[in-house]
Amino acid sequence: MKSSRLLFGYALAYLAFLYVPVLVLPLFSLNNSAFIAFPLAGFTTRWYAGLADSALQHALVNSLKVGIATALISTLLGLTAARAVTRYRLRGANAALGVISLPLFIPDIVLGISLLLLLGTLGLPLSLASVVLGHLLICVPFSLTVLIARFEGFDRNLEEASADLGEDGWMTFWRVTLPLMLPGIVASLLLTFITSFDEFLVAYFLSGTEATLPVYIWSQLRFPARLPMVLALGTLILAVSVVLVIFAEKLRNQGVKKPVVGA
């Protein structure tokens, strides 16, 4: 009896620890005071109105560009690699997977600095393209994981059946593989987009003069008066992220339906 009450208390504390900081964000974004402190001063939406700022919008557009490019390229690379790993008996497939996934375990700050040095050595200018490159390193392992799971979930015989029914490799991909992979592809697009959109460290090092949204937010934190506006922005990003993640997870779990065997 006592231990179950203790466990309940622990679970409550755990959830509070996870989500109270997140809830502070929307709370103070609606608070009518430039100071982030209790007691609350009253309700306002003026911080949200303050978001209509051209530098901010420019950063937002940059982030969208980087995010979309990263998502598309990463998913495409992930798709081809996942197909190769799951469909063919490849020598060194596991080693290749390990190497591809390694960036997951390298601290982003190390990744950022090393990429910065590399680009500098090669004499390449910093731009949104270099941010995309950095984000690809982080995102391809995500795409790969999602897509491999999807490939493993569908009957290999389906592709053979398509070949048997007269379709070559490309038409089989188009008529069978792609439609069945679609939920996985969409999930990969969403996950990599969010990862890129939220990423700060690598973008901070590689973006040069073209700030992405997180980099812009970081730059705004120097001005205390801008803080509530950043909270408002953070609240919006949070809301969109949550919706996208839920959507992506739903798609990811929507497996190819298992055939009913027997009468």
Binding site: D155, N157, L158, E160, A161, S162, A163, D164, L165, G166, E167, D168, R175, V176, P179, L180, V256, K257, P259, V260, V261, G262, A263
Partner: protein, 351 residues
């Protein structure tokens, strides 16, 4: 050359020979079964004919054309997969129409062909049904229709009834046979179920360990197996140790120990047996006679099967009871006779 001809085909996976120099000839329009226990290489052979695996050596030809280098999508074969492989994102109609895209048929013609096929497999009106709303039997029919609608030269069936329950399987067996007669296409069926192979096919090839042991009609396989393994695999059978005493043109005299000295007709002797050989003398349970004369024994188990019973008789000097099928005597004792004309002489195991 036969319609479908497999010549000296071998295939190994990682040094493990799965199909070993197999020769196979299938005539046009026949229902042919490849029968064997799992792992005997029958599915690999089927997949090589479909083009999903490449033979290490040997040739496969269909209707006079060598198939070895032809990719699966250009072969005149279609396959019914064991898992059926119904496309889950397409409905029944689109599944069946899948292989007709290349023909670029007018809409009406396409509809007519698919609907004719739906009628053939008795799925009228189910064209709009989603793939995941089909029962096992219906999935099997869709897989069959999808393959047949392309009018292949050879239809390949990989354990097509394996996933169905017993009653449905029996019904589908009769139907498969009817459909084959109707469309006249050469069917090549792979199965481990001897009853299925015997009841469906015109000819059966028994496979084991990557080799074909015997190719014959179902009746021949049952009555004249050419080796112990085939005899054992097809139906139930009793074996007795024996040695060949004398061989003449009309018959073979063997010393069969418990059964005494018997002379059996020459036709009952498998090829490759010579005087002095140790052999296995085989007899089917329904050929063992129960009467007054012969070997005395004691009934140990009985199974009532309707018009006849199946029972096992323990006889002295033999550990394994003799399987008998027929009308058992009322008591415990039974006297068994083994008519020489029903005894088959087979080579003893090589081991």
């Amino acid at each position: 050359m036969s319609f479908l001809s497999v010549s000296k085909v071998s295939k190994a996976f990682g040094g493990n020979t799965v199909v070993d120099a197999v020769d196979l000839n299938v005539e046009r329009g026949t229902f042919f079964a490849l029968l064997g226990p799992s792992g005997c290489g029958k599915t690999t052979l089927l997949r090589m004919i479909a083009g999903f695996e490449t033979p290490d050596s040997g040739t496969i030809s269909i209707d006079g054309e060598v198939m070895n280098t032809v990719p699966p999508h250009q072969r005149p074969t279609n396959m019914v997969f064991q898992s059926y492989a119904i496309f889950p994102h397409l409905n029944v109609f689109d599944n069946i129409a899948y292989g007709l895209r290349k023909l670029r048929l007018p809409r009406e013609e396409l509809r007519r062909r698919v609907e004719t096929m739906l009628a053939t497999v008795r799925l009228e009106g189910l064209g709009g049904r989603a793939a995941d709303q089909l029962s096992g039997g219906q999935r099997q029919r869709v897989a069959l229709a999808r393959a047949l609608v392309r009018e292949p030269k050879v239809l390949l069936l990989d354990e097509p009834l394996g996933a169905l329950d017993k009653r449905l399987r029996d019904a589908m067996q009769i139907e498969l046979r009817t459909i084959q007669r109707k469309v006249g296409i050469t069917f090549l069926l792979v199965t481990h179920d001897q009853e299925e192979a015997l009841s469906l096919s015109d000819r059966v090839a028994v496979m084991s360990g990557g080799r074909i042991l015997q190719v014959a009609s179902p009746r021949e396989l049952y009555e004249r197996p050419n080796c112990r393994e085939v005899a054992d695999f097809i139906g139930e059978i009793n074996f007795f140790h024996a040695t060949v005493k004398e061989m003449t043109d009309s018959g073979v005299t063997v010393n069969a120990g418990l059964l005494g000295i018997v002379t059996l007709p020459r036709a009952n002797v498998a090829p490759g047996i010579a005087a002095g050989d140790t052999i296995a003398l085989a007899i089917r349970p329904e050929h063992v006679r129960i009467g007054r004369e012969g070997v005395a024994g004691e009934i140990v188990t009985r199974t009532f099967l309707g018009e006849r019973s199946h029972f096992h008789v323990k006889i002295a000097g033999r550990t394994e009871p003799v399987a008998v099928s027929g009308q058992p005597p009322s008591g415990k004792d039974a006297t068994l006779a083994f008519p020489p004309e029903n005894l088959i002489a087979l080579p003893a195991d090589q081991t």
